[in-house]
């Protein structure tokens, strides 16, 4: 059973204000119940998929300044800082 408290906790983890947490309870519960089927799958291998790259194919350590002044595209103040709210 998914409860309102749990939905609120999840919403806090992903930082979303939910005006009506109830709206999500039933559907989230239904979907999670469906996901539970994964727990009953019989696996014969612990393999997972994933692509690989050789170390030598990684990016070389070269400094290349980003041509455009990126900060001009962002929300900035007159000193080119990004303004965030107070932390406490």
């Amino acid at each position: 059973m998914v409860e309102r408290k749990e939905i609120e906790h999840l919403a806090d983890l992903v930082k979303v204000d939910l005006s009506e947490p109830e709206k999500y309870i039933k559907q989230v519960e239904q979907i999670l119940n469906y996901f539970d089927s994964l727990d009953h799958v019989e696996f014969h291998s612990d393999d997972t998929l994933g692509i690989q790259i050789a170390k030598d194919d990684l990016r070389d350590d070269v400094y290349e300044p980003y041509g455009d002044s990126l900060i001009e595209h962002l929300k900035k103040d007159q000193n080119n800082f990004i303004r965030a709210p107070k932390m406490v």
Binding site: L13, V14, K15, L18, K75, P85
Partner: protein, 483 residues
């Protein structure tokens, strides 16, 4: 002027001087003006720039300057793929004013071949959905019947091509998002092998499984676009090396002597009767062309939806964390807020489907649950891939209907997310395993709604896949768009 020609036909007509780019683009813009009010495929139309580009390309052709191989072909781009100078909204309030400072690799490759980006098209917010109803800017409608959904999430791509508002489009396919609208809109849509096309500039939803894919009227067009946009990219370490293949060449090689496996888990129960019958017809047509068809069972497919939504939700919850409205986003001052309150308030502007998936993602990744959900989902991926590897030892292709059901009405399924998730049963397998899959328009239902057939091939076998898709396409005789 016939806007219903294919992209390939457009190129040859422009080269022959039969049509001018400017005239075609102007007519296309008129068409958008005329029909898009009913379909709502576009979020942004870049009329002025498109016309200027068209004139410039005409001039290049006239003066016999070297012209890119697209010759001014008007294309639309899904609004989760970055285009410098044009808004990239992801159909979200969170990015309603966002203009990317750079071009996605696919965008710059198209531009350098003289394609004209005519506009940006609608999607389910951040590509999460299969109906294009979850857009902050309102739903896109199916051009074959505007009461119906166009599929999704690349519904704007599918609808804009089907409604003759452009010659081709780029979509993205995370769990079927290129193939579903291709099927519902009666156009061709390819989900390439993971690593085939650069994701640089594609706004991430579930980055371990999604790929950009072309949508167009014909298989030839899709092969043509794939030649341009595929290949290794230094900006994306997940792209594969050495894929210099010409997909247009030998497209008409046929499928005589090839083996096709019919996936039993995707053709049996739960498939609409008309869809099932169209699938059978497709199979017999392919047999007529000399292919041998056998039934193949992939029992891991049974777990594919749970695995897909677990992975997609987990990755989405992380990928969407960056939208906190501090560096970019909609207008919302920070004054008077404390950090957490501010971002939580800003982020409550995501739509309900996005929020739902972020909540699910937070749940499956939270401490103690990783092994129960995410890791199991990853193992399902490996299991599906292992079964496919076995299958491809026996057959060259796999076949299924793209969607198990016919297009449905706008609003019909929006309140039952799980039911809607289950309709992805035939598409998610290609994403989980990384293999390529293509949807080919095959038939119309008795009610005049499109039915698409899906073909799969092994990883990086796009050339063979397109050959089979072309063969299937040549057996069809579908109606013209009348809207």
């Amino acid at each position: 002027m016939n806007l219903g020609i294919s992209a390939t036909e457009f190129v040859s007509q422009v080269r022959e001087g039969a049509i001018s780019v400017e005239e075609f683009v102007a007519k296309t813009l008129e068409r958008i003006e005329k029909v898009d009010g009913k379909i709502h495929a576009f979020i942004t139309v870049d009329s002025q720039n498109a016309l200027e580009k068209a004139k410039a390309i005409d001039k290049k052709i006239k003066s016999k300057e070297k012209t890119g191989i697209c010759f001014g072909m008007p294309v639309s781009i899904k609004d989760n793929i970055c285009t410098a100078g044009l808004k990239t909204t992801c159909a979200s309030k969170m990015l309603e004013n966002f203009v990317a400072p750079y071009d996605a690799t696919v965008t710059s490759r198209l531009k350098s071949e003289d394609a004209i980006i005519i506009g940006k098209v609608n999607l389910d917010e951040f590509a999460m959905g299969s109906t294009t109803e979850h857009s902050n800017f309102g739903p896109t409608r199916n051009p074959w019947n505007t009461d119906y959904v166009p599929g999704g999430s690349s519904g704007g791509s599918g609808a804009s091509v089907a409604a003759l508002e452009c010659l081709a489009s780029l979509g993205s396919d995370t769990g079927g998002s290129v193939r579903s609208p291709a099927s519902f809109c009666s156009v061709v849509g390819l989900k390439p092998t993971y690593g085939m096309i650069s994701r640089y500039g594609l706004v991430s939803y579930a980055n371990s499984i999604e790929q950009i894919g072309p949508i167009a009227k014909t298989v030839e067009d899709v092969a043509f676009l794939l030649n341009i946009i595929s290949g290794h990219d230094v900006h994306d370490n997940t792209t594969a090396k050495n894929q210099n293949i010409d997909y247009v060449k030998d497209l008409k090689s046929g499928i005589s002597g090839k083996k096709i496996g019919i996936i039993s888990q995707m053709t049996g129960d739960g498939v609409d009767k008309e869809v099932a019958s169209a699938t059978n017809t497709a199979i017999s047509k392919l047999q007529d062309l000399g292919a041998q068809c056998v039934s193949i069972s992939l029992d891991a497919v049974e777990h594919s939806i749970a695995a897909y939504y677990t992975i997609a939700a987990a990755e989405a919850s992380s990928n969407l964390s960056r939208y906190d409205n501090l560096r970019y986003g909609f207008d919302f001052g920070t004054e008077g807020y404390e950090f957490k309150a501010f971002i939580s308030k800003a982020r409550s502007n995501f739509g309900p489907e996005v929020i739902r998936r972020m909540l699910l993602g937070a749940f499956v990744l939270s401490a103690g649950y990783y092994g129960k959900y995410y890791l199991k989902a990853q193992k399902v991926r490996a299991m599906i891939k292992a079964q496919l590897d076995e299958a491809f030892k026996k057959v060259d292709y796999l076949i299924s209907p793209t969607m198990p059901i016919l297009p449905f009405k706008v609003g019909e399924k929006i309140d039952d997310p799980l039911k809607l998730y289950l309709t992805d049963i035939n598409t998610v397998t290609a994403n989980l395993s990384g293999i390529p899959a293509i949807s080919v328009p095959f038939a119309m239902s008795s009610s005049g709604l499109p039915i698409g057939i899906q073909l799969f091939a092994d990883s990086f076998k796009e050339k063979e896949l397109l050959q089979a898709a072309y063969s299937l396409q040549e057996t069809t005789n579908l109606p013209e768009m009348t809207l």
